[in-house]
């Protein structure tokens, strides 16, 4: 010690301060708690709106992290057709997307296509069927989206499945009713191949008719009927035979048989998706002018609004409030006589009542004329009756018998879409399995357990007791998103070339995302209700009471973080700072 250090004389006045050398662990602040925060994953509104019940929030979360394989497998858990649905689904998910209230909805549809295409490109294999094989076998009538989905989900549960298809190739409406420019044949083929790869057998040129039922009963334990509606509804006007059937036109076109040479003007009667597909196809085949004749108004059309918009952008001319009265032959052309209509009041289905209006009839000369006003089941036995021991479910109808038969797809679905058909096939698979494994009485509760949110969509992951089963069915409203943690970012849109590029070409119209755009778009997703490991709960916890889970146990718990309730004071900061409502605060009930 130097002389001047001695001068400090610090030993003379020992400073008294409060000081603790023991760990603050002694102070178990958890005893103060009267509110208990906890991880409580909830349902994203998009997933509840998805007829196939896809876990969209999780899919986008994985895609944002660059785990495309994981995202793809997550879709495959609920839907065997990501690349198909990423092209043809009417995406009700985007309409309820919470991000829509913040800036604009996530491009879920485009992302699904991107992920589905990646699965095909990387030749990823479908989830393996359950280990325990079921001895029972199910026959499926129709290799459309409903039948293929029913077989896919039944095979995953462990059932043996044979599909019987009337046409020479599988796919149903996907194969014959949707033009190439919306759904290339190779994409469909790849997804059907994958279903076959898990053991589903498809027998083409093998229509099921009433006469075969007895034979099926001998070889199978149940039948799923998803034949769709193959018989066009007639116009019931004079000269009807001069109008060609729209669906038949699309089918011929897919077979390469249909041409449109020398057509100056074509007219299509109808307002559904088939009418739109026929109109857009005619334009691509060289028709100079395509008129879409509809007896109601544009807003009343059952066709998906986006498809209508694209058709009009491409040049289809919409003629509203005109009903066909008769069709006459005029030299080599057809003459279509149209009567004026008017809208009035509201009918039972919520649309305006359409009544004949005063005014002159108009006539229209066209070179070709198509009718696409809807279809109905091709045979009477396919019309699901209310009689007998029958029970209706959201997307299917079951006839209980020694030999149970479930009708699904367009035959029973209130909304006739591909995604609804997939949901219907999934519902049927659950119905068969629950019926055989637990009996008829268990069905209602079992389906309720597997509902996605409050809606009618079902989750196969929940059915198979996956992690998603623990998810709260409460749907996350926008108000529960902590938007402080998000910055506004423009929606990435899939490239759409202008009408000039589509005429004369059946190449796919809409392009896919680039990898960068897909990632950027997936990162915009709020991941409503789902923990994406953002770590806010741990970082904001003032008591250092949120810990990363032991990786050996986190798989079982399903989450990567846990709360140390010995020290958690229940301040609730973690719940408030969770950007996506994946946590909840409840009243403390456990006495400490």
């Amino acid at each position: 010690m130097t002389e001047s250090e001695k001068n400090l004389k610090s030993e003379r006045i020992p400073p008294v301060i409060s000081q603790s050398k023991i760990s603050t662990e002694a102070n178990q602040t958890g005893t103060w708690r009267f509110l208990r925060p906890g991880y409580d994953e909830k349902t994203a509104p998009c997933s509840a709106a998805c007829p196939a019940g896809e876990d969209i929030g999780r899919i986008e979360m994985l895609a944002a992290k660059g785990d495309l394989d994981g995202a793809w497998e997550t879709i495959l858990g609920e839907n065997p057709f990501p690349a198909v649905c990423g092209r043809v689904c009417f995406h009700p998910c985007e309409g309820v997307c919470n991000r829509g209230e913040f800036d604009s909805a996530i491009a879920i549809h485009g992302l699904e296509r991107f992920i589905g295409d990646a699965g095909i490109r990387k030749k990823l294999s479908a989830p393996v069927p359950r280990h325990t094989k079921v001895s029972k076998r199910i026959a499926v009538a129709g290799a459309g989206p409903a039948g293929l989905s029913a077989a896919y989900f039944l095979a995953r549960i462990g059932y043996g499945c044979d599909i019987f298809e009337a046409a020479p190739e599988p796919g149903g409406l996907l194969r014959w009713g949707i033009p190439q420019y919306r759904l290339p044949a190779a994409v469909l083929a790849a997804e059907i191949d994958r279903i076959e790869s898990i053991g589903v057998k498809i027998h083409c040129n093998s229509p099921i008719h009433e006469g075969r039922l007895e034979g099926l009963q001998r070889d199978y334990d149940g039948l799923f009927v998803g034949c769709g509606e193959g018989r066009p509804i007639p116009l019931k006007i004079p000269g009807e035979e001069l109008a060609l059937d729209g669906l038949d036109f699309l089918r011929q076109m897919r077979q390469g048989k249909e041409t449109c040479n020398g057509v100056r003007t074509a007219a299509v009667i109808g307002g559904g998706n088939t009418a739109i597909d026929v109109s857009r196809s005619l334009l691509r085949m060289g028709a100079k002018k395509v008129l879409l004749i509809y007896r109601r108004r544009r807003e009343d059309m059952p066709a998906f609004a986006q498809e209508v918009e694209l058709a009009i952008q491409e040049g289809v001319e919409l003629v509203e409030l005109r009903a066909p009265v008769r069709i006459e032959r005029k030299d080599r052309d057809c003459r279509l006589i149209l009567g004026p209509m008017r809208a009035e009041g509201t009918a039972q289905d919520g649309r305006a009542r359409i009544l004949p209006a005063d005014g002159e009839e108009e006539s229209l000369d066209v070179q070709s004329l198509y009718r696409a006003i809807g279809a109905e089941p091709a045979a009477d036995w396919l019309r699901p009756s209310q009689k007998g021991d029958v029970e209706r479910f959201s997307r299917s109808r079951i006839y209980y018998d020694q030999f149970p038969i479930i009708f699904g797809g367009d035959l029973t679905n209130p909304t006739k879409s591909v995604a609804d058909a997939i949901g219907s096939g999934k519902e049927a698979a659950m119905l068969f399995d629950t019926l055989f494994a637990e009996g008829r009485e268990a069905i209602h509760d079992r389906l309720q357990q597997c509902r996605v949110g409050q809606g009618k969509s079902l989750s196969m992951e929940m059915y198979l007791s996956g992690r998603r089963k623990t998810r709260n069915k409460e749907e996350v409203p926008f108000e529960r998103i902590n938007t402080e943690h998000f910055t506004k970012a423009p929606r990435q849109n899939t490239p759409l070339p202008g009408p000039a590029h589509v005429i004369g070409s059946f190449a796919e119209t809409e392009k896919s995302f680039s990898e960068g755009a897909a990632q950027k778009e997936a990162e915009r997703c709020f991941n409503c209700g789902i923990c994406n490991d953002c770590d806010n709960c741990r970082l904001f916890c003032p008591e250092v009471s949120v810990n990363l889970s032991d990786p050996r146990t986190c798989e079982a718990a399903g989450l990567n973080r846990q709360i140390d309730y010995q020290y958690c004071k229940g301040c609730g900061i973690c719940v408030v700072e969770c950007p996506r409502d994946a946590m909840s605060l409840t009243e403390e009930t456990t006495p400490l």
Binding site: S4, K9, S10, I13, S18, Q19
Partner: protein, 386 residues
């Protein structure tokens, strides 16, 4: 070697020679020049120190508390509103017994917005447990700052070195600056009594329940009471090295004085002139320059002023609803002193208004001619009502 420098830079030079290790401050006029120079010393390597930039004075003091708890020599500077914003942490620094040194440039508080000399900012902090030393000129600023580190580190209390806005902070005067070796001879490296250590972890300044708190407060006062002796020892050491000393207070011509003027800061220089002039005219005037305000040098005050007849205290500050703060303290110090003198309180020079020789002479005459104080405070130099 003498150099002509600003009062602000006298602080900066002392801090550099004190080999301060951590500084944190937020700029505010008229203090800015002090830390501006220091930040340059940090940037160009003339000081081996960390300068922590912060977004407020509250954070500046918090950073100093953290650094000082870590056992390094720590400095900050502030003024007026900045000091007011630090208030909560000033209490913390003293009760945590951290020897932080701060340069405080006396400036008025708004509104009306005013950047000039006024003592109310530092005097508002009188109960925070900081030692307060008021300086008269650039040399005293340099010397006191250097001494402040030794004082703070010896008694484990923070020290505020106070200087007048502009009259001192921005005025260039010759200041004798020692070489580093000489400064080191007076001020050794900091050996902390309290220090956070990795190898011996502890929680500092956590809860002190009723069974402990009072003793801790008593210990602070105990440390304050040792300051008088410690300060004298440090001054003696300083005098031995540099040949200068100031005292807790300085008495000029007080032995036979009829009226003693009590002044602080730069007004003391003006007052020295007034005393010299009036003494030549046969007036029995004396002066006390008060340097140490906290701890309040009670004994020295009683000894120096107890026998006088009349005392005139000049306050460049005011406690609203009461009187000038120095006058209050001196009255309180003398009230139990038998036959204590009359204390006349004068308020002047607020918000940067000049205290001239005329002002002080007026105060002297008013005091001399009044048989007793008419009121607690007489405001001098107020403009006539228009």
């Amino acid at each position: 070697m003498k150099e002509v420098i600003e009062g602000s830079h006298a602080v900066s030079e002392a801090v550099r020679m004190a080999r301060v290790q951590v500084m944190s401050a937020y700029p505010i006029t008229p203090q800015t020049h002090i830390v501006e120079a220091l930040s340059e010393y940090c940037a160009d390597g003339r000081m081996e120190a960390s300068f922590i930039c912060v977004e407020s004075e509250h954070s500046a003091m918090a950073a100093c508390i953290g650094a000082s708890s870590g056992g390094v020599r720590t400095f900050t500077a502030s003024s007026s509103h900045g000091l007011a914003l630090m208030h909560e942490l000033l209490h913390w620094a003293s009760a945590a017994r951290l020897p932080i040194v701060m340069a405080e440039v006396n400036r008025a508080l708004g509104p009306g917005w005013n950047i000039w000399m006024d003592q109310t900012d530092s005097l508002s902090q009188r109960d925070t447990g900081w030692i307060q030393l008021y300086c008269e000129d650039g040399q005293e600023v340099f010397d006191t700052t250097l001494q402040a580190f030794r004082l703070a580190e010896t008694v484990n209390l923070p020290v505020m070195v106070v200087l007048d806005a502009f009259f001192l902070s921005h005025t260039y005067e010759p200041v004798d600056l020692p070489d580093q070796e000489t400064a080191d001879r007076f001020l050794p490296p900091f050996v902390p009594n309290i220090r956070l250590e990795h190898e011996n972890p502890c929680a500092m300044s956590q809860m002190a329940p009723p069974g402990h708190y009072m003793e801790m407060r008593h210990a602070i006062q105990g440390a304050m009471e040792t300051v008088f002796e410690t300060f004298s020892e440090i001054e003696a050491d300083f005098d031995a090295v540099f040949g200068r000393k100031y005292g807790m207070l300085e008495a000029v011509e007080c032995e036979d004085a009829e009226v003693i003027l009590v002044v602080t800061g730069t007004a003391a220089s003006t007052c020295r002139q007034v005393v010299a002039d009036l003494r030549k005219k046969g007036e029995r005037i004396g002066m006390v320059k008060l340097k140490m305000f906290r701890p309040f040098p009670l004994e020295a005050i009683r000894e120096t002023l107890g026998g006088a007849r009349k005392i005139a205290v000049l306050d460049r500050n005011f406690s609203f609803g009461a009187s000038g703060i120095f006058a209050q303290e001196i009255r309180a110090a003398l009230c139990n002193h038998p036959g204590h003198p009359q204390v006349f309180g004068y308020i002047g020079g607020l918000g940067g208004r000049d205290i001239t020789t005329d002002t002080l002479e007026t105060i002297y005459r008013m005091t001399k001619e009044s048989p007793e104080p008419a009121r607690e405070s007489v405001w001098v130099g107020l403009k006539e009502e228009e």
